[in-house]
């Protein structure tokens, strides 16, 4: 019962977030100078043409009516059609989304697989060679921009030693380098957090209890401490996943991958407002959903949070 | 006797979280009447969560009560403006359990002690003299005046906190578990110091503690608190020789080692087995009436219908000061 109530509460929070973001997006787009009708019509259109386009877009109505119209459409997952090609925005997004999602998942997976064990080892064997390696690794990860790493990887592993393909998204091999360049920076953050979290847990009193029970050091560390240390990592992974979606936009550009990023970038170049709006809200929904899932996962691992 | 503090029907309600919070409010203090005569010390005992610290905070208007009134030296604190209240508060100082959080770690003790004096617009030379006197008084060498809190032990820090409280020349000290964090041999030093200071400066104390031994040593009158209410109050000797409320009896019986062979203290106060207590608690929870009923070995149907109020145990001047909120008092006397 507790679990259901907790999930319901978190879900309400998710809806609220999406609502606030869609409202913000609506008004921000209206405030930005530039009338979409004028952009569509071109420089030397007559006022009548512009009025006609406005009527077609619905931008001639009052802001309040537009706003509620907008909300109504969002509720029905209707993000409108693009200005240029007049295709439904949602269809375009859903076409591109799987690739970006896959890229982000791979990226975060690489981050977790590399960073969590390394962070745990760094914490357990503090000030050892492993720890210094982890330190250097995380410093580099935070300092190196992912697009630069992407270009570097391309030059070395696709051009100089052609192990991986250069462009395109035809096979799994195409995604390896982008995922690595994307995951590297995330791995750095997760590593730092894992180490800090593990160090903190290892200094807690229940560790003494575990030792006093005669458990092996391995059980003390990798069972008792680790389960507690993983809690903050779950949360941060959810947040990091959101960043991945943002990061993917640039990486897709570097590797010429036809994902969401390139679609949005295109939308921005073309001042395609419905596309931008739809994109922002779509990303917001995905971001909230991921955090929602992370919260639920967290509550399963940490029974305490459900009570509060 | 002249009363320094008189409070009537103090209630403090904490709102719960969320929209329904007000309805689910928690009564931390539930109608306390209490007065402390000048130059005496009043002890308030109770276990964690009984509301004793909350009560203390409301008493000083650090956190004003939800309802009820506090008169300090004849002045109604609730009617004062912020500025007037601040002026009044100099006369009432607090010493908390943890001296570490009471002292600013980034200030030398000289600066910590100066603050209050500067506030009182005392000039520099005089300040130095006063701080020397204060430190002498609490047994800290003036040579240490430029040291920082971390350079002192727990007992010394508590002395410094007491010196700071005295720097405001208060007539009332609220002592909230002032020795609980200290070692046994240090506790005695601080207790003696507090006794000496009380005599020297004619102070009035409100002493809050979970330790009935300590409170009954220090105080003239003792009030026993349970779930936001005073359930029994009496001059110390009466309370100790004739504990009447079942909760007081239980507290007394719980003193380990019963103050060294002076087991007479809790003579005849049988200790019940845990299972009996737990089973009763489960059975009687939420039955209304007396809040102690779920824990009470002598309660019966009468106790579920309404909550008992405080009433005196006798008519003469002494026993009339022994009040208890229990229907079954005959069973105890």
């Amino acid at each position: 019962m507790d679990v259901l109530r907790f999930i319901a509460r978190r879900f309400c929070r998710l809806l609220l977030t999406v609502f606030i973001i869609s409202t913000l997006v609506f008004f921000v787009v209206r405030v930005i100078p530039g009338d979409p009708a004028m952009i569509i019509a071109g420089m030397d259109a007559s006022p009548e043409d512009i009025m006609a386009i406005r009527a077609r877009l619905g931008t001639d109505r009052s802001l309040v009516i537009q706003y509620f119209d907008w909300l109504w459409d969002i509720v029905h997952l209707d993000f409108g059609t693009t200005l240029i090609s007049e295709e439904p925005v949602l269809t375009l997004i859903l076409e591109r989304f799987p690739l970006t999602l896959l890229l982000a998942v791979l990226g975060i997976a690489i981050g977790i697989v590399v960073a969590v064990p390394l962070g745990v080892i760094s914490a357990v064997k503090r000030w050892s060679a492993w720890d210094y390696f982890g330190l250097v690794f995380s410093q580099l990860g935070m300092a190196i921009p992912s697009f630069w790493l992407g270009i570097l990887l391309l030059l070395i592993l696709a051009v100089r030693f052609p192990i991986f393909p250069l462009f395109g998204a035809d096979s799994a091999a195409h995604l390896v380098l982008p995922a690595i360049s994307l995951g590297f920076a995330r791995a750095a953050v997760i590593l730092r957090l894992t180490r800090a979290s593990m160090v903190e847990e290892l200094s807690k009193e229940y560790i003494i209890t575990a030792r006093a029970k005669g458990l092996t050091e391995r059980m003390v560390k990798y069972k008792h401490a680790l389960k507690n240390a993983l809690l903050p990592i779950i949360t941060i992974t959810g947040i990091e996943f959101g960043y991945m979606l943002g990061g993917a936009i640039i990486i897709e550009q570097v590797f010429s991958l036809p994902g969401l990023g390139r679609l949005f970038l295109y939308g921005i170049y073309q001042r395609d407002f419905p596309l931008i709006q739809g994109g922002v809200i779509f990303v917001a929904i995905v971001f909230s959903l991921v955090n929602f899932l992370a919260d639920i996962l967290y509550s399963i691992v940490n029974p305490k949070i459900r009570v509060e | 006797m002249d009363q320094l503090i008189e409070c009537k029907d103090i209630v403090k309600i904490y709102r719960g979280r969320g929209l329904a919070g007000a309805a689910r409010g928690f009564k931390a203090v539930d109608g306390i009447n209490l007065s402390v005569a000048k130059k005496t010390s009043f002890g308030l005992v109770g276990e964690s969560g009984c509301g004793k610290t909350t009560f203390a905070r409301t008493l000083l208007y650090l956190d004003p009560p939800s309802s009820g009134s506090v008169r300090y030296d004849g002045v109604e604190l609730g009617t004062l403006s912020h500025r007037e209240l601040r002026k009044f508060r100099k006369r009432m100082q607090i010493v908390f359990q943890d001296p570490n959080s009471a002292l600013n770690p980034k200030m030398s003790i000289f600066d910590s002690l100066s603050e209050g004096l500067i506030n009182r617009r005392i000039d520099k030379d005089e300040r130095g003299r006063r701080i020397k006197d204060l430190l002498d008084l609490v047994g800290i060498s003036y040579a240490y005046k430029n040291r920082y809190p971390h350079e002192f032990s727990g007992g010394q820090k508590q002395r410094i906190v007491i010196a700071r409280a005295l720097s405001m020349e208060p007539d009332f000290l609220l002592l909230d578990e002032p020795v609980s964090n200290l070692d046994v041999s240090i506790q005695a030093q601080i207790i003696n110091l507090l006794s000496d200071l009380k005599k020297e400066f004619s102070l009035t104390y409100l002493f809050i503690s979970h330790d009935l031994n300590l409170v009954s040593y220090m105080c003239d009158t003792v009030g026993v608190m349970f779930k936001g209410k005073i359930v029994e109050q009496a001059p110390t000797d009466l309370l100790v020789s004739n504990p009447t409320h079942p909760y007081t009896r239980r507290l007394l019986a719980s003193i380990p080692g019963a103050a060294f062979g002076e087991r007479g203290l809790s003579k005849g106060l049988e200790e019940e087995s845990v299972l009996v207590i737990e089973a009763r608690k489960a059975q009687r929870q939420g039955s209304g009436g007396c809040p102690y009923y779920p824990f009470c070995p002598i309660g019966d149907g009468e106790c579920t219908s309404r909550a008992p109020g405080l009433r005196s145990l006798g008519d003469d001047t002494i026993s009339s000061r022994h009040v208890v909120s229990c229907f079954k008092t005959e069973a105890g006397t």
Partner: protein, 333 residues
């Protein structure tokens, strides 16, 4: 009791145990030759103030002294004829939890928040006794019943935060006794609890000692608690045992001035108006232990010899040992 102990060999004996902590150039002699004996079915109370070496002693017995910075510089810890000090870690682990178990001060912190109580108990049964999951769970239900947490094993599926403070400590005790250890260390097990709960836990430990026939080391700073629970008492000061005897003898006739002062420094209703005895100064830091008898700078009986010569722990009378040149003498207070 004495007759038995002089015939019977102790289950666990600490002999001349010395421990030194090294921090850079600073050397702190935390224990300076401790002798303690523990017999089956007997609770041995170890009383001392913070920094006196109580916790270091129990850490050494558990074989959990972190080295560096700590190092056992001398002595033996003999359990059932085997000196555990030189044993390699895997062999020490066979004692820990299995033969020597421990209960800590704050159950809320010493229980793992992420595991159910049941898992925290069965984990040990599976590891040490080789039980399968089902048998371990059955035994866990029995253990919970033994510590007064009910016969139905409901608590097994609770997380620590779902239990009250007293229940947590009971669960902690269930974990400690799960493998039927011969020796139990209780390190201030009631200090963090309310007074009414304290007595329950003390009674429980006594009961379990009888049922399981354990030898118990009961560490406390509180003489009252020790008096309530212990059969034998040792007083530790600055890393040395200064007095040891049966409870009766020690409380009736304390021989060491430190023991005496500790007893006189405890407030109670009976001592109202009587000034508490205090011990001037404080416990010395382990790296600055005074020459000669470590207590002499604070001792009302100190003579010149005390600053030169460290008294050894010798028999003052049958079964009552004390380390003082002027044992049993009194002073005018």
């Amino acid at each position: 009791m004495e007759a038995k102990s002089s015939v019977k060999a102790p289950l666990l004996a600490v002999e001349n145990l010395g421990v030194c902590f090294t921090h850079g150039a600073m050397q702190a002699h935390a224990l300076r030759g401790i002798d303690l004996e523990f017999f089956k079915e007997e609770i041995h109370g170890l009383v001392g103030e913070s920094g006196s070496g109580k916790t270091v002693t129990s850490t050494c017995i558990m074989g959990l002294l972190q080295s560096p910075p700590g190092e056992i510089t001398s002595g033996k810890i003999v359990y059932d004829g085997v000196d555990m000090v030189p044993l390699p870690e895997p062999e020490k682990r066979l004692y820990r939890g299995r033969k020597i178990a421990m209960v800590f001060q704050e159950p809320g912190k010493y229980l793992n928040p992420a595991f159910k109580i049941g898992d925290q108990i069965t984990e040990m049964l599976i590891l040490h006794l080789g039980l399968d999951k089902k048998a371990a769970r059955e035994r866990a239900v029995h253990l919970l019943d033994l510590v007064g947490l009910g016969k139905d094993g409901r608590v097994l599926d609770s997380y620590p935060h779902e239990l009250s403070g007293g229940m947590k400590q009971r669960a902690m005790i269930a974990i400690a006794i799960s493998c039927d250890p011969g020796f139990l260390i209780a390190d201030e097990p009631t200090t963090a609890l309310d007074v009414t709960l304290q007595l329950q836990i003390l009674r429980l430990i006594k009961k379990l000692k009888d049922i399981l026939g354990m030898a118990v080391l009961f560490i406390s700073h509180d003489l009252g608690v020790v008096k309530e629970v212990a059969d034998r008492v040792s007083v530790i000061y600055a890393g040395r045992i200064v007095e040891t005897s049966t409870k009766g003898k020690l409380f009736e006739n304390p021989l060491h001035p430190y023991t005496k002062l500790l007893m006189l420094s405890i407030p109670s209703a009976q001592r109202r108006g009587v000034r508490l005895a205090t011990i001037p100064g404080r416990v010395p830091d382990a790296d600055k232990t005074p020459e000669g008898c470590a207590f002499h700078p604070r001792c009302p009986l100190a003579i010149e010899r005390c600053s030169r010569e460290n008294p050894s722990l010798g028999d003052f009378e049958e079964g009552h040992r004390v380390a003082c040149h002027r044992a049993g003498e009194s002073w005018i207070n």
